[in-house]
C-alpha cells in the first residue's frame, strides 16, 4: 500500500472511531508481542483523538459546559468534532468555529443562551492572544486643544470585542469560573432581554464588563471611527436613551481607565468612518 493510501485509511479510521470498518487497517498491523488486541492498540489513537479535541473545547468553554450540563455539553462537543475536524496545525484555533457551528446546526441553533455563551467565551479566548498594543491614559487628551475635542476619534485595542448577548450570560459565566463554581449553572432564559458586553485584554489577561445600552452604542460608534462630537449627536437619537455629553465623557474616561484606547487623533472632515458593524 502506498504511503498516501495508508495515511488516508489510517486517518479515516481515527476520525470515525473504532468499529467493524477498522478491519482493513487492522490487517496491516503486526501482532503485539505483549498480547494486546490490535483493536486496543488502534483505539489508543482513536480515543486519544476525541479526548484531545474535547479537552480543547472544555478548556475554552467552561461557561458553556456549566449551563448545558455535562451530558448536553459532551453531545455538542461530539457533534462539533464529527462535523468540523480540525484544519489548522495549531490546536489553538480548533475551538474558534464552535459558535458558528452552533448557529448553523439545527440541533443547537435554537439554544440562544448556549450560542450567546459560546460567543462570549470565544471573545475571551481571542482577546487573550491578539496583537500587543500599548494603551493610552486619559492624559493623552491633554495634548489636544479644546476646540478639537468634538473632532477627536479613537483607536481601540485589537482585542476589543463588543457583544450583544442573551441577558444573564455574563453572570452565568462569572458563576461558572468562580472558585466555588457549582457543577451546573442555571442557563439564562432566552427571551427578548439582551445585555451588552465588552471583552478585551488588559495586563495580559482577558477582561470583560457589562455595558449599559447607551455605552454600548457609543463604544460601537467610537470604534467605527466616529468623532466624539458626532457620537454625541448620533447617540442622542438612540432608543437606548439620550446620552448627554457628560455621560459620554464619563464613558470615554472609563475606556481609557480600562486600557481599551490605543490611539487618539483629530478627525478631518473628509475622513471616512468604518461602516463595519462593531458587534461580534
Amino acid at each position: 500500500m502506498k504511503l498516501a493510501d495508508f495515511q488516508s485509511l489510517f486517518q479515516q479510521r481515527v476520525l470515525a472511531g473504532s468499529g467493524e470498518a477498522d478491519e482493513p487497517l487492522l490487517k496491516k498491523l503486526r501482532p503485539s508481542p505483549r498480547g494486546a488486541a490490535p483493536e486496543t492498540l488502534l483505539d489508543v489513537y482513536q480515543t486519544g483523538y476525541r479526548i484531545r479535541l474535547a479537552d480543547f473545547v472544555s478548556q475554552d468553554h467552561p461557561g458553556l459546559r456549566a449551563i448545558l450540563g455535562d451530558e448536553a455539553f459532551d453531545a455538542l462537543v461530539d457533534d462539533y468534532i464529527d462535523q468540523c475536524p480540525s484544519r489548522d496545525p495549531n490546536a489553538r484555533w480548533f475551538t474558534t468555529g464552535l459558535p458558528d457551528f452552533m448557529r448553523e446546526n439545527a440541533r443547537w441553533r435554537d439554544d440562544a443562551a448556549a450560542v450567546s455563551m459560546a460567543l462570549f467565551e470565544r471573545a475571551m479566548v481571542d482577546a487573550f492572544d491578539t496583537a500587543d498594543e500599548t494603551p493610552l491614559t486619559v492624559q493623552a487628551l491633554a495634548g489636544f486643544a479644546p476646540d478639537d475635542w468634538a473632532r477627536l476619534a479613537f483607536e481601540f485595542d485589537p482585542s476589543l470585542t463588543l457583544l450583544e448577548l442573551v441577558a444573564g450570560t455574563i453572570e452565568a459565566y462569572g458563576a461558572a469560573i468562580s472558585e466555588e463554581a457549582p457543577a451546573k449553572v442555571d442557563k439564562p432564559a432566552a427571551g427578548e432581554h439582551i445585555e451588552h458586553a465588552a471583552v478585551w485584554r488588559v495586563d495580559d489577561e482577558s477582561a470583560y464588563r457589562q455595558l449599559e445600552p447607551d455605552e454600548y452604542v457609543a463604544l460601537s460608534e467610537a470604534r467605527a471611527g466616529h468623532a466624539f462630537g458626532d457620537i454625541c449627536q448620533m447617540a442622542a437619537f438612540q432608543q437606548a436613551g439620550e446620552i448627554a455629553p457628560e455621560r459620554l465623557a464619563q464613558s470615554l474616561s472609563s475606556w481609557f481607565e480600562d486600557g481599551m484606547i490605543i490611539g487618539v487623533r483629530v478627525r478631518e472632515d473628509d475622513d471616512q468612518a468604518s461602516n463595519t458593524p462593531s458587534s461580534a
Partner: protein, 281 residues
C-alpha cells in the same frame, strides 16, 4: 559532525510554572517550548517567553510540522515558525518522525508510519526542504508508537539512522519514547540507542508514561520510571555530553519534583564522568 554546544539540564516550559520560574530562578539551565503555543500575535504567552528568554537559552519543539505526511508542506505554518525563531533565537528547532493528518485535516497527534523505503525517501525530502526554508539544520525526534505495520521494511532505528544521514539533520533522542515503543513492539531499546548515529544526537527527552500492562502510552503525566532512567544512563554513555530535559504535560507536580529529576540526571552524569576519569587515570 558540527553540533550546537550542549545546554545542560532543561525543562519543558509550561504556563503553570511561569511565575515560579521568574520569581525563584530555579537551577534549570535552559527551556524547551512547544512552538505552537507561542505562534500567536501577542499576549501573555509571548510576554512570558520574552522574559524567560532574556535569561535562559531556549529551544523550539514543534508538534505540527507533519514531516511524514503526504499532504503538501504547510508553508503558512513554516512561515509562522520561522518568525517565532527569528524572534526568540532558539538554540535549535525540532519536530518528530510522524505525521499529523492528510487532506487538510489535522488530528493533533503524532501518528505512526510504516518504515518503508517510500516513507524514508518522502520524509528525507521534506526535512531537506524544511531545512532549506528555515535556513537551519532541523532536529528530529523519534516518536512513541502503539501500532507497527506488516509493510515495514526496516526497523525504526534503521529508519531513523538512514533518515538523519540522508537528510543531514540532527536528532532528538526521546529516551522514554524508545522505551515505550520497544515495549509495545518488542524490540531491544538498547539496540535502538546503539543503532542511531550518536554524533547527530543533540538532545535527550525524558518523561513518564502510563503502563497499561499490555501496552504503554506516552502520557507525560508521571515521573520518569526506573527502566527509563537505566536507558538514560546507557544513552548518556553512548552519546556523551548532550542537552537533556524533562517533559511534563499533565498531572503537574510541584516544580521541586521536576528539579529532583533534573538532579537525578546530573548525578548519573557525574557518576559516568567519574568512572571515565578513573578508568583513564
Amino acid at each position: 559532525m558540527e553540533k550546537p554546544p550542549p545546554l545542560g539540564y532543561g525543562l519543558g516550559l509550561r504556563p503553570i510554572y511561569y511565575e515560579e520560574i521568574l520569581s525563584s530562578r530555579p537551577p534549570i539551565d535552559w527551556f524547551e517550548i512547544i512552538s505552537e503555543n507561542y505562534m500567536l500575535a501577542g499576549g501573555r504567552p509571548l510576554a512570558m517567553l520574552d522574559r524567560i528568554r532574556a535569561d535562559y537559552p531556549v529551544v523550539m519543539h514543534g508538534v505540527s510540522m507533519s514531516l511524514a505526511s503526504t499532504d503538501p508542506l504547510n508553508f503558512d505554518y513554516l512561515r509562522q515558525l520561522k518568525a517565532l525563531a527569528e524572534r526568540i533565537q532558539p538554540a535549535w528547532v525540532s519536530d518528530h518522525v510522524a505525521w499529523t493528518g492528510v487532506h487538510g485535516v489535522t488530528l493533533h497527534d503524532l501518528l505512526p508510519i510504516p518504515y518503508t523505503r517510500e516513507s524514508l525517501a518522502h520524509i528525507v525530502e521534506r526535512i531537506q526542504r524544511v531545512q532549506d526554508f528555515l535556513k537551519r539544520r532541523l532536529v528530529v525526534e523519534n516518536a512513541s508508537t502503539y501500532v507497527s505495520f506488516v509493510d515495514s521494511e526496516m526497523s525504526e532505528h534503521e529508519f531513523v539512522r538512514e533518515m538523519a544521514e540522508r537528510a543531514d539533520c540532527l536528532l532528538l533522542l526521546d529516551v522514554n519514547n524508545v522505551f515505550v515503543s520497544s515495549f509495545n513492539h518488542g524490540f531491544d531499546p538498547v539496540a535502538f540507542i546503539d543503532g542511531v548515529p550518536a554524533d547527530r544526537v543533540v538532545q535527550f527527552h525524558m518523561a513518564g508514561h502510563t503502563n497499561n500492562e499490555t501496552h504503554r502510552v506516552d502520557t507525560h503525566d508521571q515521573p520518569v520510571c526506573d527502566e527509563v532512567w537505566a536507558l538514560y544512563e546507557h544513552a548518556r554513555r553512548r552519546c556523551g555530553d548532550v542537552s537533556a530535559m524533562i517533559e511534563r504535560d499533565d498531572n503537574y507536580p510541584p516544580l521541586a519534583e521536576l528539579l529532583d529529576e533534573l538532579q537525578n540526571m546530573r548525578d548519573i552524569d557525574a557518576r559516568i564522568s567519574k568512572e571515565r576519569a578513573l578508568s583513564a587515570a
